[in-house]
Every structure is written in structure tokens, then in C-alpha cells.
Subunit: 403 residues, 2 copies
């Protein structure tokens, strides 16, 4: 499908804004979902004159992680392109991952006589993890041909990049986790699952010895388990796939990282949603596609805080007129997945979406922007990966297919 789209692309000056309210979809508590409970006059008014529907990130019943959900929004089939756990962790910690890197999620752990006592080193405080990671970085900057780059994470977590001089084969990260997923046993040895992985396993073996030597006198965090060996997926850039010059506006590193995967510009943006919108406005003339990521609805959903999620949705609705002032040719407002407060996590439920452009049926099919109203919309329930072609079409950026 992406190949078809690529052949139909025609460039023009139309601008597309994709707003992603992370974890937007919800489930009813006392009869109403978070989005139904939120007072959102601006989105409701937009919905009445937009093409509305619900999108399914992967497939019915499948709960997506943030990686697959965003790939789908960007038009890359998440069943075809998968982002490894190591890559996602490194991106989430703000690392600048390159095609020559193998990325690994690391856990500080406690080991005694070669046996794992605690896979999470007693969940050491993030501050301690930061110090340990700095210590490792100052002692280990290179192993053989690979540059070694560390980034500290929350509690016992961190990420490591092995940066090689040359790009790696797609199967170069086919390596098992050294985490045996249980305590009271020895850590696993990294074993290459392909010929291309042998080079990486050699570095990993030496890395484990070096790290163990440096950490050996630490109380709890005297070992490091390696998980999710992965390399950057090969993704056609937004520019090449859609002819779009795209800017990601996201105050969380992971979403900037995923945007960079598809070739968007994604400079660091600090602050809250207001700051993000200001940043978008400041850069509006220089790009023709804008991905604006609003993190908080998901965070409150994950915490099971129904009212907090409602407030964050309302907060965005209050700021939305500032985006409308830009008069984008196409405005898409949606989520990447559902995060119902009652489930305290991502879920499989389809996500409400509105596509605002002059070329829709509109006409009050939906009376508000909500899960239930979007069911009545002109888009029906569709796979998320089809959203980008729809946005492009509404922007006049897709030619006719066939004669």
C-alpha cells in the first residue's frame, strides 16, 4: 500500500496537522468515557463538520504499544515494521540512535556467586542508576571496534548503544536476552541467532565482563542484564514516502525518537502543550506536515486517574483554537491507542478520530467528539495505517489511481 501511495503523491502547498492525544480512547465509568465526560466545545464543533470514525491500531483485540501505534498513525503497517525493545528504550531516553547502532535495554541486577538474586537490583533509586551509568560511561567508551554509549533510565533501567563503524545486517541483533526472567539461576550467555550477530555477541561478551568488573563492589547493582537487542528498522522516510517536509512537536523524547525513525525533524521541545503549540506556530511556514504529540491523557489513564485524564483533554480543547488560527488545510485529531482509566493501561479499543477539511460529508453525522459519536461518522471503523492516505487525499496530495 505504501508503494502505491508513493506513486500517487503530488506535491502542493497544503498543510496537514496531526494532533495525537496519547491514549485518547477510553471506557465508560458511571456511563461515560473520559472523552464523553470532558467539556470539549471546540472539538465537538469540529466533529460536526468533520469526517469522523474510529481507527484500529493493529487488529481487533490487539493492544498496541506506543511504537506500533505511532508507526500505524504515520502510515507504516505495524505488522510489517516492528521497532525493537532496545531501540524504543534508547529513543525513550533521548538517545540519538543511528543505523550503525545495536540498542539494548539494560537492567541493573544483583548477582551472588554467579546466581541472580534480584533481577532489578531492589529497584534502586533513579538517582543511583544515573550515577552508576555515568561511572560505567567514564570507564567504558569503546570495546574493540564499537563505541559504547550509555543512558540512565528510571530506577534499575538504562539503555546502551553499541555503535559500529558500518551499518549492520538486518539480522545482526538476533541475540537472546541474558535475562533468564527468573531469579535463583545464572544469567544467560548471549548467543548469536545469525552469522551477522556474531560480531555483536563478541562485543556483548566483553561488555558484560567489563561492566561486572566495574560494578563488582556495588551493594545491589553489581550486574547488568541485557534485553531486547535491536537495530533501527528500515523505514522509508516521510519525505520519500509522502513528499512531506515533516516536523514533530513532542515534549517526550520517545515520540521525537519514533518521529526521527520516519525522517521527521524532531527538535527538543520543553514545557507543556501550550509551549508545544507555540513551537508549532513558530515553525509553521517551514514545514507542510506537523505531528503534535500531547502526552498527558495517556499518563493519567495509565494511573487510573479518570478525572485527571478528563482535565487534560479539556485543557487541550481550550488550547485548540490557537491551532485553528493557523487554518491548516487538513487537521486530524485523534489518539495513538486507547488508555481507559479503568484498565490503567493501553487497550485494544478503537480510537476516535476526526479529519477536518472542506472535503467531507460532515453535516452533523456526529454531534460531539466521542467514541460513541464517532461510530456514527462517515469513516466507520478502519485500520489506523489508512489514516495517512486519507489525510493526504484531503490535502489534495494524492493523484488518481489508474485511468
Amino acid at each position: 500500500m505504501q508503494k502505491l501511495i508513493k506513486n500517487l503523491i503530488q506535491e502542493n502547498n497544503a498543510k496537514i496537522i496531526l494532533v495525537v492525544l496519547d491514549g485518547l480512547g477510553g471506557l465508560p465509568v458511571n456511563g461515560k468515557t473520559e472523552l464523553e465526560s470532558a467539556c470539549t466545545p471546540t472539538m465537538d464543533s469540529l466533529a460536526r463538520n468533520s469526517a469522523c470514525g474510529l481507527h484500529l491500531p493493529v487488529s481487533m483485540g490487539i493492544t498496541p504499544g506506543s511504537g506500533p501505534a505511532h508507526l500505524a498513525l504515520f502510515g507504516y503497517d505495524p505488522l510489517e515494521y516492528q521497532i525493537g525493545r532496545g531501540i524504543l528504550e534508547a529513543l525513550g531516553l533521548g538517545m540519538d540512535v543511528k543505523k550503525t547502532d545495536v540498542a539494548i535495554r539494560c537492567n541493573y541486577a544483583t548477582i551472588e556467586n554467579g546466581i541472580i538474586k534480584d533481577r532489578r537490583a531492589g529497584r534502586i533509586p533513579s538517582e543511583e542508576s544515573r550515577k552508576l551509568t555515568e561511572k560505567l560511561q567514564s570507564n567504558i567508551s569503546r570495546i574493540d571496534e564499537a563505541e559504547i554509549l550509555f543512558a540512565p533510565g528510571m530506577e534499575h533501567r538504562s539503555a546502551v548503544l553499541f555503535r559500529f563503524p558500518e551499518p549492520l545486517a538486518p539480522d545482526a541483533s538476533a541475540i537472546n536476552d541474558t535475562d533468564p526472567q527468573t531469579e535463583g539461576v545464572a544469567p544467560l550467555k548471549p548467543v548469536p541467532g545469525s552469522q551477522a550477530a556474531e560480531q555483536v555477541v563478541r562485543i556483548a561478551g566483553k561488555f558484560i565482563i567489563e561492566v561486572s568488573r566495574i560494578l563488582k563492589d556495588e551493594g545491589k547493582a553489581n550486574y547488568m542484564l541485557l534485553r531486547g537487542f535491536s537495530i533501527m528498522p528500515e523505514l522509508t522516510s516521510f519525505r520519500e514516502a509522502y513528499g512531506l517536509n515533516a516536523l514533530a512537536v513532542a515534549n517526550y523524547p520517545m515520540y521525537r525518537g519514533i518521529s526521527k525513525l520516519v525522517g521527521m525533524q524532531a527538535p527538543a521541545v520543553d514545557g507543556d502543550v501550550m509551549d508545544e503549540i507555540n513551537f508549532l506556530k513558530k515553525n509553521y511556514v517551514d514545514y507542510d506536515f506537523f505531528f503534535l504529540h500531547v502526552k498527558k491523557p495517556d499518563s493519567y489513564g495509565e494511573d487510573g486517574d479518570f478525572d485527571g485524564k478528563v482535565l487534560r483533554i479539556e485543557e487541550f480543547d481550550l488550547l485548540l483554537p490557537r491551532i485553528l488560527e493557523l487554518k491548516p488545510d487538513v487537521l486530524v485529531i485523534t489518539g495513538d491507542h486507547s488508555t481507559p482509566s479503568m484498565l490503567k493501561g493501553h487497550s485494544w479499543h478503537p480510537v476516535p478520530v476526526l479529519v477536518n477539511s472542506p472535503y467531507v460529508l460532515g453535516g452533523g453525522l456526529c454531534n460531539a467528539f466521542s467514541e460513541k459519536d464517532c461510530l456514527k461518522g462517515e469513516l466507520g471503523i478502519f485500520r489506523t495505517v489508512n489514516l495517512m492516505p486519507l489525510a493526504l487525499a484531503n490535502a489534495g496530495r494524492l493523484k488518481k489511481f489508474g485511468a
Copy 2:
């Protein structure tokens, strides 16, 4: 997709009940379908608080047989996995089909001087067919290395198994029907369509000679045509695919047979729907997935008996509270396909479905359980094969896909 699901499975104690009202979907006569005409207060009430929609067994416009329809309900794509006609006939006659068997549908026929006079032997009464089949079985129990097993069917129909000592290659049943589909010509010779089929054709050739010798003095049924040579499809078991310990509760052998194909336990259950429900309740603690098959709505639909079908749906609704007493974590009520009385047969129309669990929008999107109300439901129209993942998700039995 099934491979993806398998990787996401997490086991828990949640119980899923799948009720299949065979041939549930219908078409309006005097403005109302069978399901709309039926008085079904319990299903209507459930529908108001369930995720509802319609599912398409195979694809738009495709009328499914019972085999494909049930495979789809069980999450096996019927376009990928096909159950041969011989296998389905044998299962329908209650035969215990094994991986080492070639199953064949047989027609008693009338032959004269090598020419077929009647492909159905004048539709001899079932009683006569039973006697002839017993006669054949008592004369033929083995041909070369193959054990021969007969089962009598309705009128001129029967089934035969060639049971080999070893499992067969997947293409071992690539053999043409000997039925030329017309009268006044000679029956066809069985010809192997693959090397693996040569062994089976050798047995079939000797089988035809033996059968003809034994039947030669019968008036009408003096020959047997062989159709639908097939072997058991290779299906991942429910246990392996979903981590489910599954019980089929079905009073018709064919549905027990299809359930066994996917590794469900399917002991014989006699009696009516009430007996089936009692059987389910008695075994409720020992399994975590229950397939309850209700045959009659389809039978009346096939007979073109609109009111009879209505009554059988109402009968189930009266018994439904006995199932609700079990408080399953997920209850799915649907059909395998539509059987509109006006068509006196299966049809291509999508089938209403309700999925009851705490994790649905619900909220009165549907006011009743019917084809038209389900159109307003939160599930939309979807391929049947997606129903199992949805049920698993609602049961908390699927992990997140990707990070």
C-alpha cells in the same frame, strides 16, 4: 495473525463462553427478521450493555458452509484452512477421524453395463442405506495396508475412511471424484494428483472392485461413487494457539467433530439445549473456554420455517439466564452464518454478535439483539476470524503488542 496472537497469549483464570446459535442471521419477512420477530428480553438486555456488531464469516457475498463458518469463529482463517468434504461428511456422521485417515463421501448409485443410470440410486431410504453399509463393513474391513471404516448417512449417502498405518502427506488425498456429475456415462477412475496419492488410489481401485462385487445383486444401489477425498487439515490446537482448555458442548456430531479438529474436548451430549446447558454447567470448573452449539435455528431456517426458527431463538433466550448464572468473564452470543428462512439455506449475510464483558462501551448503542441494532454497535462489521482475539482481549488473555 494467529502467530501474532500466540506470541501475545498470557494465561489467567478468566472463562469465556461462546454460544453459537446456528444460522442465527436472517432476512425480513413482513418487515422483520426471525431475530427481530423473536421475543428475546434477555439477549436484548445483554445487547444494551455489550459490544455488538456483525461478522462476516469469509468475505462479502460468500455463503459459508458449516466447516468454514466454525473455523472462522474459532479464529482459523477459512481461506487458509479448508476442511475437505470427505472429512466433514465423516465428522458429521460421528466418525472418529484420525491423522492417518483418508475420508471419502460416498453415494450409492445405479450402474448398468458400466454406465451410471442414477447417481443417487433413486434416493434409497436411509434404513436401506444403513443395511447396505453394514453389509459392506462386514465384508470389507481391510484392503492391503489400510483399515476400511464405513458409516451410513441419510438416503443414498455414506462415508468411508481408509485408515493407514502412518500419517499421510498433505497432498495424499489429491484425487478426483469418481462421480462424473452426470448420468449416462461411465464413472471416472480415481487418478492420483500427486505422488503421495498413488498409495491411496491403489486402495481406492481395489475398494471400488470389492464394493461392486458385494453390491452387484442389489436392485438400485449396485455401485458406489467416491467424492471429496480428503485428510485432516493441520490445525494448531486451541491449547497451543490460545492457551485455552476448551470444551465443546454440541448435540450434533459434526460440530463435535469440527471442535475436535482444533483440539477441544468434545464428549457426546444427548438431548436438547437444556441438556447441553446442564452439561456445560457440570463441567464449568474444569475448562476455561466453552463452545455451546445450538443447532435448531439453522434447521428451521433450512426448512424455510420462519416461525419455527423464531420459536427456537425464543427458546434459547428463555434458557440463557441459566448460562448467565455462571457469570463468565466473557460471553459471546452469535451465529456461525445466516440462514434466512426465505432462502431455505445458508446465506452470505453478516451475522449479529454480542460480546459481553466489563470492558465495552455498551451504553445502549444497541437497543436490542438484532441484525439492524447490531449495525449501530461498537464493533462495526468485521471478519469472523477476528472474534477470538477480541474475546481473548476481553478476558485479559492478550499481552500488549510491542512497547
